[in-house]
């Protein structure tokens, strides 16, 4: 027969201060873990949600990203006439040769960072279904005009509607603000690709983005590019291209687990202390329970359950702290550098249910680790000795 859980709950309530301190300690550990992981999650999310299944991005062979790639002007007609590319209503292929350049802009909060300036052709916006102009108008080709994503316009100087971005003799007027629904263009500034080529005196585009008719033609186009020795280009599904960049979030994830695991072990030591104190204060009580006929297993599980209650209470509180922190203190957008393109990526903290469950699991193991030894001490208490022990 088991000892009712009520017994354990009451014990936790009786020792308010100790219970409170232990629970708070575990809660903070879980909250720290959740904050770091939601940062990594937010960053990963940008890359995973970017890129459409049917889009193919064409870059030079071996270049890891657009910023390192180069596609010469005379290669473009060969690429956009490949079979399997979807056509617009006017019969032109849905393809956009593009140029990316890193602009070293000043952040509003101080310091500088590289922001991707993307020169797009007229099909550029059509190829990105989540693109939406929210303020102002589209740039006019040939007029040194740019449109800026909402995330960048909030984080960088001179990037608001009506402002002018200047670099020596270079000058671009901001005529519009756009939103790309949390995808990669949310960290970019867009302008007309031909204008950008002449502004930056480049002879080559960085990439060509294509919309394929279906998944089968996507595979065929990728294959056709790989086996065309004239081009020495490679095609990648746009989704795969962005997913390969999620490596940016790896150090943060690792840091989250690293800190989380070490801190959880530390917190479990604290829980163990609490449980040992509980057990030693109740030695006589435990002996009495044994005399009444409760088995060793019943007592062992009872104390493990008590430790788990303690830890899970901390876990739930920690999740609450995490939710509060992410939704209030960390609710704004933030940015870091994507080191595969060496440019700013704007993202928001994201606390997913999966992370919350991970936080609870963390606290569960903290409780298990902290409870098992004290519980076994309780279970193997010598009845006669314990009863004789003076309170």
């Amino acid at each position: 027969m088991g000892i009712p859980v009520k017994y354990n709950i009451r014990n936790l309530i009786v020792r308010k201060i100790t219970t409170g301190l232990t629970v708070l300690g575990i809660a903070l550990v879980v909250a720290v873990f959740l904050c770091v992981m939601s940062l990594a999650e937010g960053l990963t999310r940008v890359f995973q949600s970017s890129g459409s299944e049917r889009n193919v991005i064409v870059i030079r062979q071996n270049s890891q990203s657009e910023i390192q790639s180069g596609i010469y002007r005379d290669q473009v007609p060969l690429v956009i006439t490949l079979a399997g590319i979807e056509h617009d209503t006017d019969g032109t292929p849905l393809a956009s040769p593009e140029l990316v350049v890193g602009l070293n802009l000043e952040k509003i909060e101080g310091g500088t960072s590289n922001v991707t300036l993307r020169g797009v052709s007229e099909k550029g916006a059509l190829l990105r279904p989540k693109f939406e102009l929210v303020e102002g108008r589209m740039f006019t080709p040939g007029l040194s005009e740019v449109i800026v994503s909402r995330g960048i316009s909030k984080r960088f100087k001179n990037c608001g509607l009506g402002d002018t971005i200047r670099f020596g003799s270079y000058k671009w007027n901001v005529v519009g603000v756009f939103d790309a629904g949390g995808t990669a263009p949310d960290s970019e500034i867009w302008t007309d690709v031909e204008g950008a080529l002449s502004d930056f005196k480049r002879s080559a585009y960085s990439s060509v983005l294509l919309r394929t008719a279906d998944i089968i033609s996507r595979k065929e186009i990728i294959k056709a590019l790989a086996f065309d020795p004239r081009l020495s280009l490679e095609g990648k599904s746009e989704r795969v291209y962005y997913e390969e960049q999620t490596a940016t979030a790896e150090p943060i994830k690792f840091l989250g687990f690293f800190i989380g695991v070490i801190m959880a072990i530390g917190a479990s030591f604290g829980a163990m202390n609490t449980m040992y104190a509980t057990v030693s204060a109740r030695t006589q009580e435990i002996a009495t329970l044994r005399v009444l006929g409760f088995s060793r297993i019943a007592i062992l599980s009872s104390f493990v359950i008590e430790a788990l209650c303690l830890a899970l209470l901390g876990g739930v509180l920690g999740c609450l702290f995490g939710i509060l922190a992410v939704n209030f203190a960390l609710s704004g957008i933030t940015g870091t550098t994507n080191f595969s393109t060496f440019s700013e990526v704007v993202f928001a903290f994201r606390l997913t249910p999966k992370l919350l469950i991970m936080g609870i699991v963390f606290s569960f193991f903290t409780g298990l680790l902290g409870g098992i030894l004290p519980a076994s001490r309780a279970a193997f208490t010598k009845i006669t000795l314990a009863l004789r022990q003076a309170g």
Binding site: L21, G25, V29, Q64, N104
Partner: protein, 388 residues
């Protein structure tokens, strides 16, 4: 200090508890030390202050992905106060594979002028003449040689990503620096020009060594003014400012790590305070007895506070000792993880050790003060009546 032995007896009365508490101080303290070293490493010392190196860097005003004409280096050379001028081009590329472990800095440079500007680096093996005599020769850092187990004369193959060429380099010379890491690989830009004619005549950054701080300031302005209305405007800044530019790209890493650190300190305080509360409660009656024996309230306060201080400081010293001794194995074990780039920067900085010590002192006082006051203020009669 005649009560020291009494305090020590109390500290070790419950051995399991003492060990667990010390353990729960050591682990978070280690985390704090590691995070503190990251922060410290990000904040690299100013070469102008530490070594009297007044170097400035000129790049395209638009950003690092835009190149400058190589002729700019010649024009800067003619300016008054430029003691040495050399060029840098980030090659990037892939060595073996794309993993973090095989990533290091690779630059195309001018061997003739390289050491004039970076005269804090000294050649430890091979010679600059060897390097210059072989167009495909390379100069590698001591740390890098050690990391990959390279020897003089070894071949290093880099597959280009920015530049569509594959380079076969031979290590001809090795350099070391007295402060900081030596983990770069440098090769002759002429080799890249031959392999890729379109590279000819362009340069990523131009590094200038100046006589003193005034010259550095004056030259920065002069250079930027000289090219301001050209098709390739420049931005010139000190070496320190240039490096801090990379740190600021990471975003608010500093704020993030610092706030995590504060929360972790709070966690240690909570755990230690819990232990002290447990010990003090178990000893309520005993403390009342001590009081009847003539111990003053102040002595009781000191006894309990002393106990928490000894606990925290023991944890602190052990934690710091483990941090310092375990640094090498830790660095090696982090080499293959996603944070390898940061791991190589971890060092036992004196500031970090000081912070670690401060944290344990803080924890000792904060965790003991509550239980100490409560225990010392409790009336004797109540204490004697207390049921453990």
């Amino acid at each position: 200090m005649k009560f020291l032995s009494l305090i020590l007896k109390n500290v070790f009365r419950k051995k399991t508890r003492t060990i667990l508490t010390i353990g729960s101080i050591i682990l978070p303290l280690l985390v704090i030390c590691i995070m503190g070293s990251f922060l410290k490493a990000l904040d690299a010392p100013d070469p102008a202050e530490t070594k009297g190196m007044f170097r400035i860097v000129t790049r395209h005003k638009v950003g690092l992905t835009s190149d400058l004409p190589l002729s700019y280096a010649q024009r800067i050379r003619q300016l008054n106060g430029a003691l040495g001028v050399t060029t840098f081009d980030w090659f990037g590329g892939v060595y073996i594979d794309n993993s973090a472990r095989n990533f290091f800095a690779r630059f195309a440079v001018e061997p003739e002028t390289f050491l004039q500007v970076f005269d804090d680096a000294r050649v430890t093996r091979g010679s600059i003449e060897d390097w210059m005599s072989d167009r495909a020769g390379a100069l590698a850092g001591e740390d890098l040689m050690k990391k990959f187990g390279w020897k003089l004369g070894d071949q290093v193959v880099l597959v280009g990503d920015i530049y569509p060429v594959t380079l076969q380099l031979t290590i001809k010379a090795v350099y070391g620096v007295s402060y900081g890491g030596s983990d770069g690989l440098f090769f002759n830009r002429k080799y890249l020009e031959e392999a890729l004619p379109s590279f000819e005549g362009t340069v990523g950054t131009i590094w200038i060594k100046c006589a003193d701080a005034d010259a550095a300031n004056r030259l920065s302005n002069e250079i930027d003014q000289m090219f301001d209305n050209s098709p390739y405007p420049t931005k010139t800044e000190s070496e320190k400012a240039f490096q801090m530019g990379f740190v600021s790209m990471l975003g608010n890493v500093k704020l993030l790590l610092t706030s995590l650190g504060v929360i972790i300190v709070l966690v240690i305080v909570l755990i230690a305070a819990n232990t002290m509360a447990l010990s003090a409660r178990e000893r309520v009656r005993e403390i009342a007895v001590l009081r009847t024996l003539g111990y003053t309230r102040k002595m009781i306060l000191m006894l309990i506070l002393g106990e928490s201080l000894i606990l925290a400081l023991t944890g602190g010293f052990l934690g710091l000792a483990i941090f310092i001794m375990g640094l090498k194995p830790l660095k090696i074990s982090l080499m293959n993880t996603p944070i390898s780039g940061f791991a190589s920067a971890i060092m036992p900085f004196p500031e970090v050790i000081l912070v670690g010590f401060g944290v344990s002192l803080f924890v000792g006082i904060l965790s003991g003060i509550g239980p100490a006051i409560r225990a010392s203020q409790r009336p004797i009669t109540e204490g004697l009546r207390h049921m453990g």
